[in-house]
Symmetry: D2
């Protein structure tokens, strides 16, 4: 059976927004809150989702309880235009959840936007999901055979069908039954009959945090979304933990089996926001350490340079670490336009060259006559790097050394990150020397996987499958669909 | 369990469009086509749905088969802005269906827009529905108890769940099983694994027609949608008929039990487009006869008048019949602005008075010093009539006699028409004399139900429940939801 | 010196609106008001301009006095979307003017939108203009030579420069001096230092009316715009009259020389709204008479027919007159879609054929087997008529006789009406018999010019140059620009 | 005579865009090009204006020669949405100019958008202007008295009237005559009868550069706009220079009197883009030096700190200079959201607090337990600084020392910069110690004016009137209107 492909034209062109420069697809973000005293819940969710916008720009939505009913609103587009209305409406509620969604070009569309709000025999349910199930295809086939109907193409509907099909009566029992067959990544936030439920898969692929402020409980993918509401104490929701919050208070149970932690290392390298904590680590701190490790390798290799220039803003923090460890000046040799997010259609190849100049500029004052170490967070296809190196040379750089604060990206991810096909990944075609030649740099260097893992806080517990192909779960044949 | 209420802001404000003057809600319209030779199916559906726009302005959508997959597109808004893109895209396909949807103010939203496109164990399915199930609430409860999940509030999802839950293997068998429990109105168009399926409920509440042109088969709620593609021979799909068209050709079977026909008389009075045939009748011809009947009643009562003036455009055709039978001049004593569809927010009562003047104008040349017979198709709340009578008087009319080419509207409809609550219907508060007083007319007259039914082609086979309360099916308690 | 061509993309696509079917360009409309007691002037202007929308759909605007300053707002687009904001804003003012503008495809643009609001040595001035100056080109050259700057291409800037360059000190003197050199059509409304000034050219080409209600004075191109504010006594502003209204009251003076009246007969045939009075005539009444005259000609010629069908809505009223005089039934054999104003891009010829079906439908019930007299107001290129005749034949009409309630259109207009080039006008290529053949009708007939003029109230005082080439003023070489 | 105030609702809300954080109004930017071989001139202007977007976000426009005519397009809004169409249209031209405009809240509107395209006795003229004339009010009064009409409120129309009124015959002569009476700032770009004319006022207040590439000549406010077309040799257009480029080549003449240079020092501190050169200085380099000077002052004062944190992005470069000179680590202790440009309406004070958190985040990893030097470019009202200091303290900063890489802002600018009224400027209310108290910092320090001027390349030739009140030209009474 072929996947559906419901297409939909967004109300506001999602391309017409600020975009980070990188070619790697973000996945999704989730948020939720429960307050014993009624609050303007959709407004609070707006603030949280706005702070998670970097995790998904295709669609967003909120669902909340109001006057004993579930209400919801979602659309293609970014948080500010789609959900901005909730800053101007006063709605009293105790409970709500929200979602921002990234999607691959082909599989997007409004039918996959979340939260999904349904009626079923367990009552009123709403769900928001970050992650991807590696056995989603098989489960979908089984459920369909048993009479379930799927309106979208995303894994998240699966969870609702499994809950609805469970014969168990209590919330803990039917959740245990429904979640047992799932393999892969799922950080879930649910509304169910007056309760907020937050679930993190036993491998802990994706982050999930909980905090408290003024008697209310807030759940979000990253701590930056908690800060958006205000300063509050927080903790990581543990791998396999199911946290339930309602008027009776808050309690947790744990899913079996308790698997080894497999936190996605790419969250630290690239996805998460620098002011967040994920997996118990400061994202900023981790990125500084990645830059330091790179500098140590270059020092050992005897590289001589004059200035460290980050690719803004993705390479900023690693460049701080590199410059500090190498004892070299850090400087803004590349400037990003404040207005370049506003995209425009570029029909010809010529125009694409010109467009690149509009987004990024080299600063002659910083790089002319210098040996430049140019730092970025990771390398996907290498096309942008080639243009940037060209800008630096045009502005007079004497040497350009490309440094990536991550290992070579070579493998697909089955747990929620949208990585281009193996053919497109430059590191599957070329080694570092070949890459340097292709992008026009004097040299190129990556961070080896073992160095990356040992350099982070724990040497264990990370999934680095996209770098080393060591996948914790193998998908069913033909599976790959990002959440 | 409370109904969900997923709200959604439309891409284009549906209010900012042409609106017919009446206060009665239209319901929905469906269309479909199968062609053995590939055509630009979405483009053809555009023409058909555009011609059915009067049946629903809230949302619209199409689904079609392309490269062996089901594709779809739907949004809140009118056909031209939402589906206009398909006039500019070349898509080759053999099969497609479409829908225009009207919805009550509260129950609208994108989650109820159609076609619904799903994957299930019967394969790829897409459905568009016109009508309303009077036992929808009970069926929904039963299906939910058995594990089905509902994402929207409309009846149409029910049909898909019943199909998916059937254990029958052949298309005819599972359709028979799935449709058997349905009570009420359903004109359905489905795509199923390469076949177009058109279904009309055994009571035949809503119209459904099929035509052929150039080897292709076209299905639509009204014949005007067939004409939009070009002149073609057509026939009514019979009550209880299930028509299947695919590469093997076209064949029908019939649902049991064969109930007496209950065609909605309001389709002839108000809903259908005058150039359409529905229920085997010319809509224009039926409306002329309604006007003639009114004139006969007035003649018997000895009314003396000078000119017959329709409320444009809803009273136009009945006024032709009235003037012809009464031997009085027909004239355009009221003119409608060509630009008044574009609505504007009117916050104050003062402005509402002024706004009425923008939409409709009385022509002194026609009515000054005259005894005016003012014809409209039906009377709901009476508020607009009061304003129009005032305009005529202000332009110098000596007498104004309000004539309605329909009986008194008094009861709810459970089969797909959105009628205001009984309290709001003026005919539940006042008799004709009282209505004349309230709207400022010298007299008022309705067409009696028995006269209406005997005056139409068949004296039997019409549902006139909204006038006489004689409902063929009673709903479950609390049921009322329009399609 | 080539004309400028400043292009501008409208905020709202003016094509995406209701459009009358005809191919003749409307010109412009003006409105103004003065009230000794402050009113919400922009709101009142909204109502007046909305009622003048048929006179111009390209752009619209208002200017008013507020707190001793001139304020203004204008944009490309229709009255409701562009000026709708003024229904929601409370602004107190004594004085304001407004404008709706039609423009030819090439010469449009926001730089020509009105009112024009300026500072000059006569103080604060704002102007709105309906008409066209036949000596505009020469005056522009003279003014430019003397140092004047033109930002737009329309004649209206001329009037402001002439006012500014006058050495006369009093308002009456500088207006007399500034207006003296003008030839052609100008109905002007000005705000000048607290006064409303309404001016009609000595030939009286374009209509201009004044009315009083509640102490306030309202000026507008047609009486329908006065009715939009409420019932009020009104009178025609005379050819050559300059009416000044301010806190000191209202007084008039007259421009010299007093030329013979040359009222545009096309206002009665086509432009003005049927519920208006223009040139002292009821527009509805005049159109009924045109239809009667046509019927008399056909009677004399012995035409036999079964039904009179108007092309909606342009032929509606003449068809009433024709049917009445001919003793034939009037019926709606053609129906216009209520939703077809919403235009869509039609790239291929095939689609254009299909699009015509979306806008207009023939009703078989009315025309099948009948000899049809099809009435329209005028014939320009003949392309639409060919399609409509085809629709009638397809619906079964036995004969189709095309009747036009106007003479053959053959000449350009230099006074504000946008008529296609002589080559495009079908009556310059073919006689009535040839036209009947080209559009597929059994016969065609126009109203002769002398019959038209003698049949109207006065046999004198109309400009019929577009029919007979008898132009009151000849333009400078190369002049033609509509207002 | 009161100034006009034509209001206009922009097609796209200019607020719904990325905004730099500062409260100081940018002014305008100009661009132009002449090429002997036809190019897609509007496309090239798009690239140049996009790179000047930081100089004005209210409106933008282009004008160009095409087929011997002047064509133009302008609207309220940003370059990408308003002018993006020119990336998709192929237009061949030799000559064009463009403009981006900033405007104060009150005086904006489409009637002031540029280029202004006119017909006059010198032929076809189009003009774009950056700057402000300090004697604009007096000149306007004189010209009005002489019969000139003003449609907008900006100074730029003045220049066109002066050109039109000149009796001189040659371009050089009438330009000399027209420009002679102007006082204040004007960098002008004109199209005149096939020639590109670039003019910089004798004081050289605003920058203006010219470059050549592929035979074509490009003119722009900053060199970054030249780079946007590609690398090319360039030079500063000298104060008082009038550069003319046409098919005969390029030549210059100079305006009298030759005044001392008064280059606006705020261009270096804040307005110009860091990768630009203006006034012969690298903007990046100048800002690094400003930071170094601050560090020297702090060193002399014995300040002890742990980390240097810029307010992103306005303080970035000065912070590099400070950290380098002070020997302290530079780090990103404040992060800016990539999505916060998209603004939203914040009706309540509570929400304003929350909104600030959405735009800027403090990074605990960087600042917790640290003595932080927080660097920004300048201080206007101080409200944002108070919030930022609060975020740093909340994230654990032990001390916060506010450092501004500019002197105290105290005076108005009459030459094109929009500075809030003197009352609003915090430095007119408080000294550094008072400011530190008000924003919650441990200390505050500005750069003294003499240090600023001596520290820049030349110690002479800058206008620093906004800091020291030493205005080169005094305006006429009541004058202040930004370009």
């Amino acid at each position: 059976m072929e996947p559906l492909d419901l297409i939909h034209q967004p109300a506001s062109d999602p391309l017409a927004e600020n975009e980070p420069c990188s070619a790697l697809g973000h996945h999704c973000g989730v948020a939720g809150l429960f307050s014993p005293d009624p609050l303007n819940v959709p407004e609070r969710l707006f603030y949280m989702l706005f702070s998670l916008q970097h995790r998904g720009q295709e669609s967003c939505g909120v669902a909340w309880e109001e006057d004993g009913r579930h209400r919801g609103y979602k659309d293609l587009g970014m948080v500010a235009p789609v959900l901005g209305r909730f800053l101007r409406e006063e709605r009293r509620s105790r409970l709500g959840i929200g979602h921002v969604r990234y999607s691959t070009a082909g599989g997007g569309g409004l039918q996959n936007a979340q939260p999904i709000v349904v009626d079923c025999n367990k009552g009123r349910l709403a769900l928001a999901h970050n992650g991807n199930l590696s056995n989603g295809g098989r489960l979908r086939k089984e459920l369909t055979a048993a009479g379930s109907i799927f309106q979208g193409t995303a894994d998240s509907e699966l969870v609702l069908h499994l809950i609805s099909r469970s014969r168990e009566g209590t919330r803990e029992d039917f959740l245990r039954e429904a979640l047992a067959p799932l393999e892969g990544a799922y950080s879930l936030v649910l509304m169910h009959e007056g309760a907020l439920v937050a679930i993190r898969d036993p491998s802990g692929f994706r982050p999930l945090y909980v905090g408290e402020k003024g008697g209310a409980t807030y759940v979000a993918s990253e701590t930056c979304a908690l800060h958006a509401v205000g300063p509050m104490p927080f903790r990581e929701i543990a791998p396999g933990e199911v946290l339930i919050v309602d008027r009776a208070g808050s309690r947790s149970f744990f899913l079996e089996p308790r698997l080894p932690r497999r936190a996605c290392v790419f969250e630290l390298i690239y996805f998460a926001r620098p002011d967040s904590e994920v997996f118990g680590e400061s994202v900023h701190g981790a990125r500084v350490r990645l830059g330091e490790m790179l500098a140590e390798l270059d020092e050992a290799a005897g590289l001589r340079a004059d200035v460290v220039v980050p690719v803004p803003d993705s390479g900023n923090i690693a460049a701080i670490g590199y410059a500090r460890r190498a004892g070299l000046p850090f400087d803004f040799g590349l400037a990003r336009s404040h207005y370049a997010g506003r995209s425009f259609i570029m029909p010809t190849k010529d125009q694409r060259e010109l467009a690149a100049r509009l987004k990024l500029h080299a600063v002659p004052e910083v790089v002319a006559g210098k040996r430049v170490v140019m730092i970025d967070d990771s390398l996907v296809r290498g096309t942008t790097s080639r243009i940037i190196v060209g800008l630096l040379r045009e502005a007079g750089a004497k040497e350009v050394h490309l440094r990536l604060a991550a290992p070579e990206l070579k493998w697909p991810c089955y747990y929620g990150i949208d990585i281009p096909s193996r053919d497109e990944l430059i590191s599957n075609r070329l080694d570092a020397a070949g890459i340097a030649r292709e992008v026009g740099a004097d040299s190129a260097r990556f961070l080896p996987v073992d160095r990356l893992l040992s350099g982070l806080g724990h040497s264990q517990g990370y999934c680095s499958a996209c770098f080393d192909g060591n996948h914790p779960f193998r998908p069913d044949v033909g599976e790959k669909e990002g959440q």
